[in-house]
Symmetry: C2
Subunit: 334 residues, 2 copies
């Protein structure tokens, strides 16, 4: 399907569900971006879910979003259960604004929902020549080290920086061995998952995506990844006044109330301590790319490089829309 | 050996090597603390190395440390090749001061050296009721994803927060499968290491600690851990004007110049967005501790809990000093 046509359809769907023109544009752009970078688990496959949550009144299509100034550098946003895309878009813009004034900006968000890819918001800050760190929590998927029940989300850690080139450095990594969205997509398409990334509900390793969804995902580096997930839950949940400790509802399965996800956005200038940041990081990346490589590896890539290349490539062609999604679009349009 | 006696000896050793009384106290306390929390690889086993670096003029025993104010929240420290303990102690105190004024404090350090445990400095901020994030780079130990040569340090990610109880939450995790200090200690004591944590210099998995030291350590979660290590190198090296991209010298083996390690300290108030942070985090920890446990696990521990318990226990008794260390002390004292 043509990019513009698809974007128009998604936007219309969101407007039909009560979103303002502006909020529908923000949301549609975020979903299209996820498709273009190849993160299909965070793109069109979630559209039906977002609409269902609006219909069932657990996402507020007409939120009264409040922005509170805490200090010159710090702001606090109550997103009033808006769709996550809109809350995150306002938050990163505020963090950018604050950092331009004082060198560093921090923005916390409460009463938000799933906002798609952290890296999408990181890019906005990086384009303004800022370093950024972004945290969000998510529904239970990963068991704390020592537990046999999921509690942490896949709680991504996101870090972005300019590189002195047109391709930004965007690390956007879940602390689980695999993204939950990938398991969900595999389950939907009856595909297998690797064997060391999840346990079934009885605590046994499984390659069956459906069983994994009912079980427990494993964190990277056992207690280390578990600690990182806990950190993200504290930074985005405890600190911000949002749900935490496993209380964030699964957006697909639980319509008993809003998710009340929390996010934390930090941004700061690259030239606080050095006046040649761009040449320094260029040199850093160049040095690493020149290292001797593992057999079969042609190019050492930095985080975000692959996504950028996919984005460029996919932007030039039609977007492949599966039959399942086509049915979703047809249904939601009317 | 009695704690006080040992502390006195270490302090005297540092003073003999030219440190001021104050800097010797800071350094001695940090080394004793590492022993008490059970991080022997960051304690007495490094004393000889620090002294050797002072003697060989690659640590400056009488540094002129400059603190520059960048903004109300942000400071920049040129440590003038001081021993790392001293630079880090000044930096965390400055970050605490800045955060008390404006809500958030950020302090970058350049021309520093190995400062021991990040968690030791995090504790200082947590005792002042602040959340803190600390980054430092380190000599090459871990290969970037796709490379067969070490370049990243074990680059710890450190996060600390008050818990509403006397035991702070201190995550202080290297991004390698195992701490380099542990491999070094195993090599010194002719002990084996686990098989999945390192490769020898030919790229083959090895359980031989000495071979691992000459080879490559593996990051947690392959490309994820590699990305996190890269992030830490950028935050502590590129951003601060310090060595990066594998240029940090190994403190044990390379006396050709100062390490010029960089650190980044961030601290912020817990009550920026909620007025009941302590009860929220207490509830978070309680909920997680109550989860059903893996067979054999009695208690789900949060990061820092074990170290705190070891500290309490070890503070009450004599410190075990190995024969090798006794010889070091004897030699360095005179």
């Amino acid at each position: 399907m043509k990019l513009l046509k698809l974007n128009k359809i998604i936007k219309k769907i969101f407007i039909n569900h009560g979103l303002s023109n502006n909020h529908a544009t923000i949301s549609s752009n975020a979903i299209i971006n996820a498709e273009l970078v190849g993160a299909h688990s965070h793109g069109l496959s979630r559209l039906k879910m977002y609409c269902e949550r609006i219909t069932k009144k657990v996402i507020n299509p007409k939120p009264k979003i409040k922005i509170k100034k805490i200090s010159q550098s710090i702001s606090f946003i109550d997103a009033n259960n808006s769709i996550g895309f809109v809350a995150a878009d306002i938050a990163i813009k505020k963090a950018i604004e604050n950092s331009k004034k004082t060198g560093i900006g921090m923005v916390a968000v409460k009463n938000s929902g799933h906002y798609g890819l952290s890296g999408y918001y990181a890019e906005q800050a990086v384009k303004k020549n800022l370093v950024t760190m972004i945290y969000t929590n998510a529904p239970p998927a990963v068991a704390p080290h020592g537990a046999i029940k999921s509690l942490f989300g896949t709680n991504p850690i996101c870090f972005g920086t300019p590189t002195g080139s047109k391709i930004p450095f965007i690390l956007d990594t879940s602390i689980s061995m695999i993204n939950r969205g990938k398991i969900r997509l595999a389950a939907r398409n009856n595909k297998k998952i690797p064997k060391d990334v999840a346990l079934d509900k009885f605590g046994k390793p499984t390659a069956d995506a459906k069983k994994a969804l009912k079980g427990v995902q494993l964190p990277i580096g056992s207690f280390r990844g578990s600690g990182l997930a806990w950190m993200v839950d504290i930074l985005s949940g405890v600190l911000t006044g949002s749900n935490h400790a496993g209380k964030v509802k699964d957006p697909f399965d639980d319509f008993s109330g809003p998710q009340n996800i929390g996010h934390l956005f930090i941004a700061f200038k690259t030239n606080l301590f050095v006046n040649n940041y761009n040449s320094r990081i260029k040199n850093n990346i160049r040095t690493i790319k020149r290292l001797p490589k593992v057999k079969g590896v042609k190019n050492i890539m930095y985080p975000g490089e692959n996504k950028f290349k996919r984005f460029k490539m996919n932007s030039k062609k039609d977007i492949r829309v599966s039959e399942i999604i086509k049915k979703d679009l047809e249904m939601l349009k009317n």
